[in-house]
């Protein structure tokens, strides 16, 4: 056992993961890359070779050479509407393939259908976020090998650095041609950006495009070129449009969430970053969307013209672009119909890969250019460490997403969250799991006001200068923690086992925390 930089006890060896000695988290920017990038197997396809086009998933699996024990990757641009993960694993099971390592960018509720494949041994290990029922299974010790959680930037870093080698990448393509060129812009399953799949297309030994909208060669525009793609399969349908993109996302009418958003917006307005060229990421949750709406109001009022909006893109960001309040959108994931329509028609709306978005080990991730990001968390502690992975009962129920990456990159990282969710406090003495270290978090905003990390004296001063209607209600962290305790009452201590069921990697590949097995009596239904 050894303590890492956020004082978490990490065993020197973790069964199913390996030695941790040289992989202990040392600080948000401590570890630098060494050596060379990884590579994929050389392949070629000449004019006399057979067509890439195959009739079924079963044929593609056979053609790819996929065998037991290999690593297969998936991407979540179809979100909760994705049919591909379940379909591929069903076929793997039928073909007698076992002990697979599943390397998805994220799994959703729709993927609970793979639980029988986990139990039967078709899937032996998951490296990726585990939400909902799969998270519950993992938390209770339902997998022999621990899950490895990486951020959106940490994942492509792991691939490029050679920490993970992908044998076969299965890429869902809302539009593709027989040459394997892919796009997410059109088709009945249109999803906009294919950002999460780019790095896998480049670094996998075999790439299979699965589409329900096969077009003549070549399609235009192309997101992922067919030069990386080994096989193209036409399937009946790759996803459910209702689960892929939402309708118009709307700002919450919940007064408390609006109040939190209003506080966050005042903090941004008081900060030195609220000026022409401002770049920001807000995501699609209720509070962040409301912050976007309030920012729009403030930008108009103070005649501020922003630079770019980043990350998961919604109709709200598209409106800012159309109204000239932002100059560009950088889109790794398109959340709603407006975003899909915009990325398909407006050249200022740029599709970017997860590597470009957030990888700490390239020469210019977009997150490094961010001024402001609004994030959530299940818990924040007295050192401003944030937990986004585990719930109060210890269950591993959420992925990291871009939390670590944007927090590390942005000049102002704000966690906006109600002080209590139901009876569960969000401010605690020590978080159950450290996902993002306090050194990357600048402020916590709750309904009770704005709490600034004391290391950001400049922000505290800037807020102090905001007066009248723009005044920022500041509240110290210890006062907030005290209030949370008073409101929630004492919490029962959590009983957990020694066995490690999940490893949380910091975006540079070091271990920031581990998640241990919980017992069923802890789990809230």
């Amino acid at each position: 056992m050894a303590l890492n930089a956020v004082k978490r006890d990490i065993p020197s060896r973790i069964e199913g993961y390996g030695n941790t000695g040289e992989k202990l988290f040392e600080g948000a920017f401590a570890r630098k890359p060494e050596g060379f990038r990884a590579s994929a197997m050389m392949r070629s396809r000449g004019p006399n070779d057979p067509t890439k086009f195959l009739g079924s998933v079963k044929e593609a699996i056979a053609a790819s050479g996929l065998k037991s024990g290999m690593t297969i990757s998936f991407h979540h641009h179809l979100r909760n509407g994705d049919f591909i993960v379940n379909q591929v694993l069903d076929e793997c099971a039928k073909a007698g393939i076992r002990d697979l390592t599943l390397f998805p960018t994220a799994l959703f509720g729709v993927h609970k259908a793979i639980i029988p494949h986990i139990k039967s041994g078709v899937v032996r290990r998951i490296m990726g976020s585990v939400n909902g029922p799969i998270g519950q299974l993992v938390s209770e010790g339902g997998m022999e090998v621990p899950v490895v959680l990486r951020s959106h930037g940490g994942r492509p870093r792991a691939v490029i650095a050679g920490d993970v080698h992908i044998d076969v990448a299965f890429i869902a393509a809302p539009t593709a041609d027989v040459g394997g060129n892919m796009s997410g812009r059109a088709g009945k399953s249109a999803c906009g950006s294919l950002g999460y799949a780019f790095t896998d297309a480049e670094y996998a030994n075999c790439v299979i495009a699965l589409t329900d909208n096969l077009q003549h060669y070549p399609i235009a525009p192309i997101s992922i070129p067919g030069t990386f793609v080994d096989f193209v399969v036409q399937v009946g349908v790759i996803g459910d449009p209702d689960g892929i993109v939402s309708g118009t996302t709307r700002v919450t009418r919940d007064p408390l969430r609006l109040l939190i958003a209003r506080h966050a917006s005042k903090l941004i307005e008081a900060s030195p970053y609220f000026k022409d060229g401002l770049s920001f990421q807000t995501g699609a949750g209720g509070i962040p969307l409301a912050v976007t709406a309030f920012m729009k109001e403030a930008m108009k009022r103070r005649r501020v013209r922003g630079g770019f909006g980043l990350g998961g893109i919604t109709g709200y960001f598209v409106d800012l672009l159309k109204e000239g309040l932002l100059k560009k959108l950088m889109d790794v994931q398109s959340f709603d119909h407006e975003a899909v329509e915009s990325i398909s028609s407006d050249p200022r709306h740029i599709e970017i890969s997860a590597d470009w978005y957030a990888n700490p080990w390239n020469c210019g991730a977009a997150v490094n250019e961010l001024d402001v990001v609004i994030l959530g968390a299940t818990e924040v502690d007295m050192n401003f460490n944030a937990n986004v992975n585990t719930e109060a009962d210890g269950a591993l129920l959420h992925g990291i997403g871009g939390h670590q990456d944007t927090a590390a990159g942005a000049k102002l990282t704000i966690i906006a969250q109600p002080l209590l969710r139901g009876r569960i406090p969000c401010v605690v003495d020590s978080v159950h799991t450290v996902t993002t270290p306090g050194e990357a978090i600048d402020a916590l905003v709750t309904e009770f006001g704005v709490t600034i990390n004391p290391r950001r004296r400049d922000l505290i001063d800037a807020c102090g200068e905001a007066k009248g209607k723009n005044a920022v209600p500041l509240v110290p962290l210890d006062e907030l923690a005290e209030r949370a305790k008073r409101m929630s009452g004492p919490m029962s201590p959590l009983r957990q086992g020694d066995r490690i069921v999940g490893i949380v990697e910091w975006r540079d590949g070091t271990v920031i925390d581990v998640v241990r097995q919980i017992f069923p009596e802890n789990i809230s239904s």
Binding site: P255, L256, L258, L259, E447, R486
Partner: protein, 291 residues
């Protein structure tokens, strides 16, 4: 100041604990219409506990009890009066006798709980034609009465009409309420604007009632608060003008002059009083007078 008093459902701990964060001048913990019969007991306990254990950032805290024609009102009072709240909002007050009965009950409870007699103020909801007709008598039935408030839906029903967007049915009643309140020396507070999404309608109604002379308005959604404050708060130009008037009046008094002139216009006593009221509203009065 009672520009806004926010209703908070007595069965919603989330809102009871956080309602003060929205910036209204006052809070109304509602045990009446917001609470179904099956939840009356639990809500009463919840409200009592919140009152005992929470702070409300100096807001005026009141509780709307169930009417004196119900079986609940005595239990409601017994639960909340010992918590030293600022006032009770009492529904469906028809006659001065209702207030006298309430006064007796409050005094008995205050005495038992070592709360100074008379400390608990009374806000009267006049929700029937009879109540409106008796407005002045009700407002003067006890020194506890601090405000009268016209009803909305119930009053419209009693008048055998319905609520309209324009508020035609309440127009005369609002005018009468102002006269009764001022004659009795109590505040006139307006009823709620029920459509929470109609900001323009709320703005129109608040402008109208402010012009009539109302001191404020009850609100049912936090989003309504800043709109009403904006209307009720004096503008910077109004504050500036008021400062000049008050300063000129003080200077004239000090020099023993009767007449005051501001920007070339003579100003008489009522105008000075109004200017002082404007500064009070804006929080701009200081011990020594205008800043």
């Amino acid at each position: 100041m009672r520009r806004t008093m926010l209703y908070l459902p007595g069965n919603n701990p989330n809102m009871l604990l956080r309602g003060h964060l929205f910036g209204s001048d006052g809070l109304i913990f509602d045990l009446e219409d917001a609470v179904s019969r099956s939840e009356k007991d639990s809500s009463r306990i919840l409200v009592r506990e919140v009152l005992r254990h929470s702070g409300f950032d100096g807001r005026e805290v009141t509780v709307r009890i169930n009417g004196l024609d119900t079986e609940y009102w005595r239990d409601d009072l017994a639960a909340v009066v010992p918590c030293r709240i600022h006032g009770i909002r009492v529904p469906k007050v028809d006659t001065p006798q209702t207030i006298r009965d309430l006064d007796d009950a409050l005094s008995a409870l205050e005495s038992r709980a070592s709360v100074p007699i008379g400390a608990t103020k009374v806000f009267c909801l006049l929700e029937t034609a009879l109540g409106v007709w008796n407005a002045y008598d009700i407002a003067t039935a006890s020194p506890r009465v601090t405000a009268i408030i016209p009803g909305g839906e119930d009053l419209a029903a009693d008048l055998r009409t319905s609520r309209s967007k324009e508020g035609t049915e309440l127009e005369w009643i609002r005018r009468m309420m102002i006269v009764a309140a001022r004659a009795a020396g109590v505040d006139a507070l307006d009823t709620v604007f029920p459509s929470v999404t109609d900001e323009e309608g709320l703005r129109r109604e608040a402008l109208f009632t402010k012009q009539l002379g109302f001191d404020g308005k009850s609100v049912i959604h936090p989003a309504q608060i800043p709109i009403i404050h904006e209307i009720y708060d004096p503008t910077e130009a109004e504050v500036e003008k008021a400062r000049k008037i008050v300063a000129a009046a003080r200077e004239a008094a000090a020099r023993g002059l009767g007449a005051v002139s501001v920007d070339g216009r003579m100003v008489d006593l009522p105008v000075v009083r109004r200017a002082e009221f404007t500064l009070e509203r804006a929080g701009a009065m200081t011990e020594g007078g205008a800043r």
